[in-house]
């Protein structure tokens, strides 16, 4: 997934630490270990009624929507953009599909559930195309272009639900967020499938390189004959569709659409996951695996709070402190200081000076 930095022969440990994913993975491992220390059965998985159970599965299942959105966000950020509207898309997708199911003549049939999913995806496509239009064609800064829908989107979702929480009862629809397939929760499988799809599409074809090119230098990539406009469209549409799937998962998990609270602040979690995973907000090089690790870190943090018996109201402070620490450790300046502290004779391959982008 990621381009490995040249490993120095003879010192495998250093090569591991030099890897981009080293710190996020170490952080995740440390968090999991901490949990294991406090609850010896933490890492254990058990089979029950043909379903896998365990804290790890819980972390993956609860984290699935965030991972999904963070995947889309990674590609958007790689083009030097940002998508603030994903939380609103989650609300719109959930509202549209639940409103459809509730109003349909056969609220329980598989066909209705399928149509509801299609409606959510189409809503995602439409929102993504709109964001892409504003960013690529009109040339609005991504942060403001998506701020429009972040503000208005929740209003639209409330308009769809009429300000109510719409409850639905459709077993097929419920399966998306709460069902099991091949012993694993469906939401994990869907997320994994989209991850593999995104990874293959961007790393086994030229698309990934093109996305990075647009992020590193939009003007140069355009002059090199790259249709950067189309690339930007693609990433925003992908991000919104990912958010629509996340919206389906969230609403189907509780079999209700809550326009106010579904996906609230999920854009923040997703952006944090991307940053913790090691993708720079300045665009360019990105790592999908890192993003997934980042999202796991965020979800594990929440779980850790419960395991350690920290009162839930402290969760946010705890999360903020961890986020600040991870961000500080990853800041290029901090890394330079570390490199200097090590004071090895080997001239460390410094991170190239990061280009600053006004956010």
């Amino acid at each position: 997934m990621t381009s490995h930095q040249p490993a120095k022969p003879g010192n495998p440990l250093k090569a591991i630490f030099a890897h981009r994913l080293a710190w996020p993975v170490i952080a995740l491992a440390a968090l999991l270990l901490l949990n294991q220390l406090f609850r010896p059965d933490f890492l254990a998985l058990r089979m029950q009624d043909g379903h896998l159970y365990g804290s790890l599965i819980d972390i993956m299942r609860n984290g699935a929507p965030t991972i999904l959105i963070a995947l889309g966000m990674t590609l958007v950020i790689a083009t030097r953009g940002i998508d603030l509207s994903v939380g609103a898309v989650v609300a719109i997708a959930g509202a549209a599909s639940c409103a459809y199911i509730a109003a349909s003549p056969e609220p329980g049939s598989p066909a209705t559930a399928l149509t509801a999913v299609l409606i959510a995806v189409v809503a995602g496509l439409a929102v993504g195309a709109w964001n892409g239009f504003l960013v690529a064609t009109i040339g609005v800064q991504p942060i403001i272009a998506t701020l429009v829908l972040m503000t208005a989107g929740r209003g639209i979702a409330q308009l769809i639900t009429g300000g109510q929480i719409i409850s639905v009862s459709n077993d097929n629809y419920k399966a998306i967020g709460a069902g099991y397939l091949f012993t694993l929760p469906v939401s994990i499988l869907v997320t994994a499938a989209i991850f593999v799809l995104a990874a293959v599409l961007t790393r086994r074809t030229a698309l990934g390189t093109l996305i990075e090119a647009v992020g590193i230098n939009p003007v140069a990539s355009r002059l090199a004959g790259l249709r950067s406009r189309n690339i930007v469209w693609i990433v925003y549409v992908f991000s919104a569709v990912c958010a629509a799937f996340a919206g389906l998962m969230i609403s189907s998990n509780v079999t209700a659409a809550d326009a106010n609270n579904a996906g609230l602040y999920i854009e923040m979690d997703a952006i944090l996951a991307v940053v913790i995973g090691g993708t720079s907000l300045a665009g360019g090089r990105y790592t999908l695996t890192g993003t997934v690790v980042g999202a796991f870190i965020i979800q594990t943090l929440t779980t850790t709070v419960y395991t350690l018996g920290i009162p839930p109201e402290v969760t946010l402070v705890f999360k903020a402190l961890v986020v600040i620490t991870v961000c500080l450790l990853q800041a290029p300046k901090a890394r330079k200081v570390f490199a200097r502290l090590k004071a090895t004779a080997r001239p460390a391959a410094m991170e190239p000076a990061k280009e600053k982008v006004a956010l």
């Binding site: 701020l147 109201e313 999360k319 402190l321 956010l359």
Partner: protein, 338 residues
């Protein structure tokens, strides 16, 4: 020689070609458009509802939005340097919680206010230092600041705490009479004083010019020998201070502290600044524009309250649509003047 100002030099361009003058006007265009929109909305409101056209309805726009005006002032400084501060809403809530808790324990209100202002500025200072010295995007740092401040609110209390202290309730009920049976609240006076101070600082001090210079081009500002570091950190301190003041004003207004208060207020503040004509890339915009932006948001809410049949979510949709309209307008003007 008049004092150097960041406003367009009107007197100096008198002899220049008309085209040059157009450019000068184009700088004000987004702000003037906002003002025009505000007047148009007021006129439409007056046409639809006879009671709309009263001085008190206009003054209520200020009374109900004092905290948002102060927040927008702080946000304007940050956005002018090309940064952003997402923590303001959470800092407002934290200020309210701290104030309500300490007042309940019988602290002196003056001491409480001083402490709250200190907390707000310290949070801003910490974020500014991290943004500058670690070179992390303001977006991420202030996002973490938002989590931290909101989390501290939860730590203080999950329940709403009423404020019954004499000074605060006095401020909540106080009315300053104006001629014509109109009145304003003391908070409005404070908010307008802050706006006036911000206007003076931005347009008539060295600090203000540096703020614009950093937003225009940070590297150039650095090469020109301007105090980029101090200024960049100071704008976040200012924003934190403004958030704390807004928190106090909101306490006067709501007479309680609640950890979920002011949720999404950072978005309202950013929307007001953008609608007021400030470019999110920094370097261009006016603090008075942001005040008009707040008034536009306020009149949207007044409209919906007057109508009675429209549901509250229309506020969000209308604000989103306004944001869009002003962004497109900005694109139009920046292309023309570029």
């Amino acid at each position: 020689m008049p004092q150097p100002s960041t406003l367009a030099p009107r007197a100096a361009t008198k002899t220049a070609a008309p085209r040059r003058q157009l450019r000068g006007n184009a700088r004000y265009a987004p702000t003037l458009a906002t003002l025009g929109l505000f007047l148009a909305m007021f006129a439409v409101g007056a046409g639809m509802y006879p009671s709309f056209l009263s001085g008190q309805v206009f003054l209520n726009l200020f009374i109900d939005n004092t905290f948002l005006i102060v927040l927008a002032v702080g946000m304007t400084f940050v956005i002018l340097t090309g940064g952003i501060d997402l923590s303001v809403g959470a800092v407002v809530a934290l200020s309210m919680m701290v104030a309500a808790t300490l007042l309940q324990q019988g602290w002196n209100p003056a001491a409480v206010i001083v402490l709250v202002l200190l907390i707000g500025s310290t949070l801003g200072l910490a974020m500014g230092l991290i943004i500058h010295y670690f070179d992390i995007q303001p977006f991420i740092v202030t996002l973490a600041g938002m989590f931290l401040a909101r989390g501290l609110c939860y730590v203080i209390s999950l329940d709403s705490i009423p404020v019954t202290e004499g000074f605060f309730t006095g401020m909540a009920q106080a009315q300053i009479p104006l001629p014509g049976e109109l009145f304003i609240s003391p908070g409005v006076v404070l908010a307008l004083a802050i706006v006036a101070a911000a206007f003076f600082v931005l347009h008539h001090t060295r600090f203000g010019r540096t703020v614009y210079a950093i937003g225009g081009n940070e590297n150039s500002a650095m090469l020109m020998g301007l105090p980029v570091r101090t200024t960049k950190i100071l704008v976040y301190v200012l924003s934190g201070l403004c958030s704390a003041v807004a928190g106090i004003l909101f306490s006067f207004y709501s007479l309680s502290g609640y950890s979920l208060a002011a949720q999404g207020m950072e978005l309202d503040a950013i929307a007001a600044v953008v609608i007021g004509g400030t470019l999110l890339t920094g370097g261009s915009g006016y603090v008075l524009g942001s005040v008009v932006g707040v008034l536009v948001l306020g009149i949207v809410q007044t409209f919906i309250a007057y109508d009675g049949t429209l549901s509250s979510w229309w506020t969000k949709i209308v604000i989103g649509a306004l944001l869009l309209a002003f962004i497109l307008l900005q694109r139009l003007f920046t292309r023309k003047t570029a």
